[in-house]
């Protein structure tokens, strides 16, 4: 019998799910922007003079990192807007407000990117802080945009809480989600204070960079993956909730004090070396739990699913999270090693692998689930020949990018820091060493293959599930 047949239309989308589609569309668009600037930077490593005057490396990096944070956050929030009405069985409360703030955010992000591109920097005064660039690495957004982001998350939190209360029922997943979003919104404010004391400034800045990304995002991802697995494999709620509670306990139990691994050398008291070293060494534990969970579920269902690309991205998510965040993080988290490795390209290797694994994998899972439900008739299982090309190309490329950063980071750590003692000569020796210099070319190559993977992904998202009538 033919494998394709007409499937009836089952129900319309909730308004909240329609909004989620906008979230996903903008996320994919910003993802493209992020890749463009990553590609540009990879070339600037080879030819540092390229666009040096008009678009220097540091500006590119700001845009590369900022667009990444925004599109991943947008993708994750889109996932919540997608699943929330399904979980509560009703339309999201305050959906008009949610739509309004969404378009404010889209306009705001556009303005911020344009200012980054064409204004770039300003004098060291309050005007720059408010309207051009706040200056803290990774969270450079000017203060007006920061306030908009906090307002955005606050409205989002209101949507979730009000919908839960209106639906008159709360599940374990919703409970975890609500309290995680509280931390997500409140911790972001920590990156907005200006103090003349650099240690204090950095101390609070890490609340955003570490606690945000390594604690609240991980938990948000846990909730979203729980919903995704229930959808993809029909995993019982009791099972995913039990795993989620375990993961949340481990993430917060290790991650909050694991914050100490950023407090080793910034002028904070010495006890952080012990605290940070111990707790951050335990941080991979919840990630191991997530791998076991994903493998167990997928194995128990023999990879039989309603949506193949989503399931494969979910599996990539579990492994990527463990390898990128867990292993590559652990590689340099012990103070004895971090003493020599902090601030080298090992950090970039860890960052690329971890964000790709933990968050990109999740957002891709969510987007493929949404795409499946948009196409009529709904295709079960959702499949195409293109998604696997994008999947393999992007994974191979990110391994290549992170691998080249690992080798150059090792050269920096070993030659510049450990052997030659951070002198000017040591700097030159490590930067001219083949293990450093040659990696630029590899990275540039993998940046291109990643770009091709992205283009295939976009093509696949636009076409998958659109079948000719049999």
């Amino acid at each position: 019998m033919a494998t394709s047949f007409a499937r009836p239309k089952i129900g319309e989308l909730y308004e909240s799910q329609k909004l989620a589609l906008w979230y996903f569309a903008v996320a994919i668009l910003l993802f493209g922007l992020q890749i463009t600037f990553g590609l540009l930077m990879a070339y600037q490593y080879i030819n540092p003079d390229f666009m040096l005057e008009s678009l220097p490396f540091m500006t590119n990096r700001t845009i590369h990192v900022n667009t990444m944070i925004v599109w991943l956050l947008v993708g994750l929030m889109g996932g919540v807007y997608w699943f929330l009405p399904l979980e509560t069985g009703r339309e999201v409360v305050g959906i008009k407000l949610a739509k309004l703030i969404w378009w404010v955010i889209v306009a705001g992000v556009t303005v911020v990117v344009l200012v980054y591109l064409f204004v770039q920097i300003g004098p060291g005064n309050a005007f720059t802080l408010w309207f051009i660039n706040e200056g803290r690495e990774y969270v450079e957004a000017p203060r007006w945009a920061d306030l908009a982001i906090v307002l955005w998350v606050a409205i989002f939190l209101f949507n979730v809480i009000a919908t839960t209360l209106a639906a008159r029922r709360v599940t374990g997943l919703l409970g975890v989600l609500i309290f995680d979003l509280v931390a997500l919104g409140a911790l972001y404010t920590a990156g907005m204070h200006y103090t003349v004391n650099v240690t204090m400034d950095q101390y609070l800045w890490w609340w955003v960079v570490h606690l945000w990304v390594e604690a609240t995002w991980e938990v948000l991802v846990g909730v979203l993956m729980a919903w995704s697995l229930m959808y993809l494999l029909g995993t019982p709620r009791k099972l995913v909730e039990t795993w989620l509670f375990l993961e949340v306990a481990l993430v917060f139990g290790t991650g909050i004090l694991g914050l100490g691994h950023h407090y080793f050398w910034i002028g904070t008291p010495e006890y952080w070396i012990g605290l940070g070293g111990f707790f951050s060494a335990l941080e991979p534990l919840p990630l191991v739990a997530m791998v076991i969970h994903a493998l167990y579920d997928s194995g128990a269902h023999r990879l039989q699913t309603v949506n193949r690309p989503a399931l494969f991205w979910a599996i990539a998510q579990a492994f990527g999270n463990f390898i990128g965040a867990g292993m590559w993080g652990f590689m340099q988290t012990l103070p004895q090693i971090n003493m020599y490795s902090h601030g080298t390209q090992l950090a970039a290797a860890h960052g690329h692998m971890a964000f790709f694994g933990a968050y990109l994998g999740t957002v891709m899972t969510l987007i493929y689930i949404a795409v499946q439900n948009v196409r009529r008739p709904i295709m079960i299982p959702l499949d195409s020949k293109w998604w696997s090309w994008a999947y393999v190309l992007m994974i191979v490329s990110i391994v290549g990018i992170a691998g080249s950063f690992t080798i150059s980071g090792f050269s920096q750590t070993m030659i510049e820091r450990a052997e030659l003692g951070s002198t000017w000569n040591a700097f030159i020796q490590s930067y001219t060493h083949p293990w450093y210099a040659n990696t630029h070319g590899w990275r540039y190559f993998f940046a291109w293959t990643f770009t091709i993977g992205y283009l295939i992904l976009v093509y696949d998202l636009l076409t998958i599930g659109k079948r000719r009538s049999a």
Binding site: M1, R7, T164, R169, W207, R237, A470
Partner: protein, 248 residues
Amino acid sequence: MDINRVEVYLDNQDEPIAVLDQPPFVLELDPSKLEVGTHYLIAVVHYQDGSMDHHEYVFDVERKGAIYAGHVSRAPVTTPIEVRMVDRVEIESPVKPDFVRYGLLPLVLFLILAGTAAWLAVVGEKPVPGGVLAAGGKVEAPKAPAGGAGAAAATVDGKALYEKHCASCHQANGQGMPPTFPALAGNDRLADAEYVIDVVLHGKPGTAMPPFGNTLSDEEAAALISYIRTAWGNDYGPVTADEVARLR
């Protein structure tokens, strides 16, 4: 291919538990009416042209107290119908959210977290006794070095400029660190004044040598280049600010 009707059989019973004859082909199952354990569901699809096809579902039903949970645990690969389990966990025993716990507590926690960050930022501003901020909490701008920009026109110290801008690479003794940073002492290429001025002003693309055109005034560049061309036994003679200005 158009579907005529779908007959759904449960656990190999002879009679179908449902016959779906028009879209949407959605089957709602209530696990509380089923035995605890594993069940089989077979959907027999009749197509318009008389052909048939069947799909098998396996699912589990479990019971805890009065609460039932049922889940389609192994979905078939190609299915024309959607099986929805009525989730008795939430229907029979809805947990009503408590407004204080899920409404007010999050708000209070939000304010505590954001407030702690704000408070720490304020504490960070406070002068530490004996610290750099002790004098009224203000950081003094570093004093301009004696003989700064104002005195430049008269006597610019080429040696000081060399030590500030050049010595880190070319070394204080002019020996450099070949091959990356060439020695300046005894370097014949310094004989060509225009070449030297050009390299200092515009840098040397493709190498580590940066341009100093925006950093140095004509007088400073002239003093610096004169120093390079006459120090460490070099004898190539000084250059003037006018020569520098011409090549800018």
